[in-house]
Symmetry: C2
Subunit: 191 residues, 2 copies
Amino acid sequence: MPRAGLTPQTVVRSAAELADEVGYDKLTLAALAGRLGVALPSLYKHVRGADALDRKLAALAVGELADATTTAAAGRAGADALRAVAAAWRDYARRHPGRYQAAQRVPDHADPDHVAAGERALAPIYAILRGYGLTGDDAVDAARILRSAVHGFVTLAAAGGFGLPRDLDRSFDQLVAVLDTALRDWPEMTR
Amino acid sequence: MPRAGLTPQTVVRSAAELADEVGYDKLTLAALAGRLGVALPSLYKHVRGADALDRKLAALAVGELADATTTAAAGRAGADALRAVAAAWRDYARRHPGRYQAAQRVPDHADPDHVAAGERALAPIYAILRGYGLTGDDAVDAARILRSAVHGFVTLAAAGGFGLPRDLDRSFDQLVAVLDTALRDWPEMTR
DNA sequence: GACAGAAGCTAATGGCATTAGCTTTATGGC
DNA sequence: GCCATAAAGCTAATGCCATTAGCTTCTGTC
């Protein structure tokens, strides 16, 4: 019997593809083993179990999302950077719905790679905010707002929560325009 | 042996409580049966199965969310209404994390109650937007933005996605302030 | 070429969901 | 008041998934 030649890497990468294809909730060790042409328990030679796989997949996905947004932000600033990062973000979520969902898991403090990937994903956001002159508490609030808006949009869109026929691209452009305006005229109010 | 006296109503309500207590992902027919003091298969006398229970729970939760936001909007307009609805929304999600997650399931077209609840939940949002003078496509875009921002915020907050110690209430106030500004000075841009 | 370790396997266990079929309890008509 | 019936509950059986244990076989190194 020839060997399948699996590694932790290939197993996680295959899990990512499977999650994107069938949905994160239907990602199962049994289905993954089937896709890899291997008996289910064999996977335990490469990952500690279903929960560990989920964590590794989250780390992978956050890292990829960080790469995508970082690349999009390179060489840009202001509204230009905001648009590019938001577009890359949404694009990643659409192209990789399973991974994007997996990425929402909060990093385990004991996994430095996952934690680092999470920080890398935040970096382009704070870079954009610096470009708008926002730092400190303002930047924290603004980052939360930016993340909330974009994440909320792609999540609701992916779930089919936007029923009406109105073009989604238009709505997303408006969302980004609103964020740009908000960051330019940052409300001084609550201080 | 005395009867438990269950009904579809009590089963779904108990499921809602259980989901809030242990988390939506850990809501299981086995756990629900245990809480109700009944053997697992007995639940099938009241609900068609796990998936049907999820759907009923979603309908219940969306209805409750609609009630909460509708009540908050009553007698208010403009920024006042926006603040009240956003607060009620966030409050519901925090008080009922399991239900809120359940509510994200898109209504089955064959379930009129669920569909109606979904429309009731949208009503206060569109009412607010009318108060800002937004109708038609503008209202659709604005509603999507509003929903994205608030839903994204409560989702990320619930998942523990906001790591930093900065006060969440402050950030949420800023979010609502940003939305208020955006709705007042609605960008005419993309048309 | 032998051996050590890794990669794979089968078998067994336990949890959950579902279906089938049985027993018992309420209840409504006579 | 009694009995028939439908509903509410039960146990038993099946199937899928995750996990663990323990065995076999491949592969690379001396």
